[in-house]
């Protein structure tokens, strides 16, 4: 028997720096850290269990070469091995594990509503995240900003089917169930960027339903939030007209203008975001142009139709959207 050794592969994993920003093994909050520790404890225990059984299998394989006649009775040794190895020892281990589970349970529990000063509502849609700061009347999409060192209460809900908000570095995942108010607490300690993704299959573009969480220094965060509270500044004029002319305003809202669509993401401060199409492509002029002309190429099946914007109008539109800081 040469089983793929978990320890070896995990050693490789550790050397590789535990992967990217979406890892469950590179966390920055109390709950996610607690889960990470739980994992390593269970991993160690599992490695021991596997090793014991692998050794038994190895002994059986070696016994194949021996000449000893097979025993025809259940000796005390054989039955003892079965009952001690299969029932007594596991029972002790599992009781200990259950205690550990019960003790770690509060860390990921749903908070009571109103248990943190800052509330964020995350609404899953096919296929993007609507982000609201209800007390500040701010709406944005796919990128959440939170202050480092403070606790944030996140309420999740859905505009259509079940999604699941999962930012592994910050906390457990939580499903968005229609007509249920589900909540998690996030208490990020230090500034950084975390990536997350929808974790419950929600249809065609489930794979491209990412989001980013920016943990900002508190003063930076307040500045960002103040900026988001304002209506769109922008160049206005021809850009606003083009936005209306090509039907964009039917689906998108830009606060401070006549665009009040509710189907697609709020674009009031689009230029303050770093990504497009639910964290699928960078928010740069070239990508934005490609997205406007042929969104079905980037994300087939998403709700945004392609458009036949002519060259000059496209430049106007890109200038305008680029000005929405």
């Amino acid at each position: 028997m040469r089983p793929a050794s978990p320890a070896l592969l995990l050693a490789v994993l550790v050397l590789a720096g535990c992967g990217g920003r979406q890892s469950t093994l590179r966390t920055d909050t109390a709950p996610a850290g607690r889960i990470e520790r739980l994992w390593w404890v269970m991993f160690a225990g599992s490695a021991v269990v596997c090793a014991v059984v692998f050794v038994l299998v190895l002994v059986a394989v070696l016994r194949a070469r021996g000449t000893r006649a097979p025993s025809q009775e259940d000796g005390r040794g054989a039955r003892g091995l079965m009952l001690f190895g299969g029932a007594v020892a596991p029972l002790v281990v599992l009781v200990a594990l259950f205690v550990l589970i019960l003790r770690s349970l509060p860390s990921t529990a749903q908070p009571r509503p109103g248990s943190a000063s800052l509330r964020i509502d995350v609404v899953g849609h096919d296929w993007f995240w609507e982000i609201r700061y209800p007390d500040q009347h701010v709406t944005t999409a796919n990128e959440i900003h939170i202050p480092a060192g403070e606790t944030v209460e996140v309420h999740v809900s859905t505009g259509d089917v079940i999604h699941s908000l999962w930012v592994p570095g910050l906390n457990r995942k939580i499903d968005t169930i229609p007509a249920h108010d589900n909540r998690v607490l996030i208490d990020a300690r230090s500034p950084g960027v975390f990536r997350g993704q929808c974790a419950e299959f929600c249809g065609l573009e489930h794979a491209k339903m990412g989001l980013l969480v920016f943990v900002d220094r508190p003063d930076e965060f307040r500045r960002w939030l103040a900026g988001q509270e304002k209506p769109a500044a922008g160049a206005g004029g021809r850009g606003v007209e083009a936005f209306d002319l090509y039907g964009c305003s039917g689906c998108h809202t830009i606060r401070g203008t006549a665009a009040r669509g509710r189907i697609g993401p709020d674009l009031t401060h689009l230029a303050s975001r770093t990504t497009l199409a639910a964290a699928s492509i960078p928010n740069r002029r070239g990508y934005l142009a490609g997205w406007i002309l042929d969104p079905q190429h980037v994300k087939p099946g998403n709700r945004m139709p392609g458009s036949d914007v002519n060259g000059p109008d496209l430049q106007v539109l890109l200038d305008y959207l680029g000005s929405l800081r």
């Binding site: 979406q22 889960i35 269970m42 054989a78 794979a207």
Partner: protein, 631 residues
């Protein structure tokens, strides 16, 4: 001497099938039906495997464009549906069908026509579900097809209807099959095979089929509600109208988790059969092993909520189901150590079936320890719906069910065909599959821990997932090569393998005491059993031979089988068994037509076709159990 010759001639006359052209549609022989199950489900296994290879090809690198999202979603849904409903369960039913009556010394299943019906419904429902590919609207909502994604608003095409109606159709087959197995095991055992001498394979079948009877109604209700919502706007799962989507999840998983054991337990039965044979000793702790099997089936009904820990349920609920999910480890632990103890105190013979079984132990332990982790609620909430889960359940299902299935295919191949498989090719196929499956599924643990969610048709570079996906994809090709070697080995050996003899592995159960392949009537003399390892009791078998000379326990006055008492297996009465009948196929076909009419919303047509169902039932009912015809 002349008595024996006379008995054999009479049995041959009574049980000989009619001309093949008719026999094909009317047979009720459990051996023929068992082989059909095995072959048909292997075909579905190949289809689902090809779907998996297509998916792994798409995921071999980030942002690949081998298939698009629409195709990919159909592929992963059909991969799951096929593997679970159309491959593993029917494949294990196939083993059960072929082996159980032989193992308990019976002449057929308790309800042979029902058995044929069960097969026809299975194959027709498989065709029904797969026909959706012709219209490019195969089910695309995942194998558990959650509401409200399954509602008409989110999935207007008929993808979901193929799923729910197809499964309702298939469930008829599984349910009647379960009844048949339970009655067969309880009532048709050879005289003397009291319950405490029942082979562990049969215990496993019994536990499985009892689970199926209680689990399947929940699935049918879930599917029915889904269809009522979709076709008649009943709103069971529409929160805007007072429905609740979590209800669907409960219904589905009340079925879904026991179903894991419905898949896994018969495979465990194969392991408990192969290990004693190739260790050349009885299983260690027979009673504990049988109890562990039943306990797993029972506790399996109390763990379903661990599939729903991320839905926001109350803590106390989750704690209860966490404890139950930990508890269910114990019976599996007892079995693993029981198998190890048997192998270690015996003298293992490392032939292909034993290699697959030892490989199973290794792989299943890894799947088992990660399974325990899902009882740890916060950890579950972190990794559920990630590739860590995909890794875990493939270790459990590929390791825990498919490896034993391969062991079983090699193990009973000589009995089914009378010929030996090729040992060298067998060992090659084991190593390809063992290496391939670890290479495919182990890296998925790491991808999941690194945050990769499941059911994604593509992923971005730079998240640390690329290399693990590449490894998985290469592993999938190795695995596919291994399966191809199995197929080639079995197909070629069927014609050209060396003659096997009655009991080539010196196994301990009754199926090995009759010829390979067995005669139509299985046993000329119904064997009398005095231990749990009847094939090793040479004196008892010699006694059976002597009975043949005396014409005792031969039941030659018609198409007969012996019913025995449930507990002690004492002779109860002689049963007149049905033989050839066209009605099982007719009934299955009529039900299929009704489901097709419902699929396309022709309800009046469905009602008229319902009369065909009724007519088939009447025909079935009035046909005499046995009428002896000569071609």
């Amino acid at each position: 001497m002349s008595v024996a010759v006379d008995v054999l001639r009479k049995l041959e006359e009574t049980w000989e099938p009619p001309a093949p052209a008719r026999h094909f549609f009317t047979t009720v022989d459990h051996k023929v039906i068992g082989k059909r199950y095995l072959v048909t489900s292997f075909v579905f296994f190949v289809l689902a495997g090809l779907e998996a290879v297509a998916m792994r090809t798409q995921l071999i690198e980030p942002e690949n464009s081998f298939v698009g999202p629409s195709t990919y979603n159909q592929l992963f849904t059909m991969h799951g549906v096929t593997m679970i409903f159309l491959f593993v369960t029917p494949m294990l039913s196939g083993f059960g069908n072929y082996v159980v009556p032989l193992m308990i010394g019976a002449r057929d299943m308790a309800f042979p026509r029902l058995n044929a019906f069960s097969y026809w419904v299975y194959v027709l429902s498989g065709i029904y579900i797969y026909s959706s590919f012709l219209f490019a609207i195969a089910p695309n909502c995942g194998w558990f097809c959650y509401a409200p994604l399954s509602e008409k608003l989110a999935t207007p095409d008929r993808n979901v209807d193929f799923y729910s109606l197809g499964l309702m159709f298939l469930t008829i087959s599984t349910t009647v099959g379960a009844v048949n197995f339970i009655v067969t095991i309880f009532k048709l055992r050879a005289p003397g095979m009291s319950l405490n001498r029942l082979p562990l394979f049969c215990w496993a079948q019994l536990a499985t089929q009892l689970s199926a009877i209680f689990a399947l109604p929940a699935l049918t209700v879930a599917n029915l509600f889904q269809e009522l919502d979709r076709k008649f706007d009943f709103r069971f799962f529409q929160p805007a109208h007072g429905g609740d989507t979590v209800l669907y999840q409960h219904l589905f998983w009340i079925f879904g988790h026991p179903d894991v054991y419905i898949i896994f337990l018969p495979a465990v039965g194969i392991v408990s059969t192969v290990i004693p044979t190739f260790s050349q000793r009885p299983i260690v702790g027979y009673t504990w092993m049988a109890l562990a099997t039943m306990a797993t089936a029972f506790v399996g009904f109390g763990v379903w909520v661990h599939h729903m820990f991320a839905t926001g349920l109350p803590q106390i609920t989750m704690a209860f189901f966490s404890a139950a999910s930990l508890l269910i480890t114990i019976p599996s632990g007892v079995q693993i150590f029981g198998w190890c103890a048997t192998a270690v105190t015996g003298r293992p013979i490392l032939r292909t079936p034993m290699l697959f079984v030892l490989g199973f132990v290794v792989v299943f332990v890894i799947g088992g320890v990660t399974g325990v982790m899902f009882a740890a609620i916060p950890f579950d909430q972190q990794v559920t719906d990630s590739y860590f889960v995909v890794a875990h359940f493939h270790y459990v299902l590929f390791g825990g069910a498919v490896m034993p299935i391969f062991a079983g295919l090699y193990y009973w191949f000589p009995k089914l065909t009378g010929r030996m498989y090729n040992e060298l090719l067998g060992q090659i196929s084991f190593w390809l599959i063992f290496v391939g499956l670890n290479m495919t599924f182990f890296p998925m643990h790491i991808a999941g821990l690194l945050g990769m969610p499941r059911r994604v048709y593509t992923y971005l570079p730079g998240l640390g997932w690329d290399v693990y996906n590449l490894l998985s994809s290469i592993g999938a090709y190795v695995l596919a090569a291994g399966v191809a070697v199995v197929a080639v080995n079995l197909i070629v050996s069927r014609r050209s393998g060396v003659a096997a003899g009655d009991n080539p592995f010196n196994a301990n159960t009754l199926e090995w005491t009759t010829s390979s392949p067995p005669p139509h009537y299985n046993f000329a003399v119904l064997p009398t059993v005095r231990s749990a390892n009847p094939a090793w009791d040479r004196l008892d078998r010699a006694e059976d031979g002597a009975r043949l000379e005396r014409g005792e326990l031969v039941l030659v006055d018609g198409h007969q089988a012996l019913a025995t008492t449930v507990n002690e297996a004492e002779g109860d009465r002689v049963l007149e068994m049905p033989s050839e009948s066209p009605w099982p196929l007719a009934l299955a076909f009529a039900i299929g037509l009704v489901f097709t009419a419902v699929l396309v919303d022709h309800y009046a047509t469905a009602a008229i076709l319902g009369l065909l169902v009724l007519a088939s039932l009447v025909g079935w009912h009035v046909q005499k159990p046995w009428h002896h015809e000569r071609a």
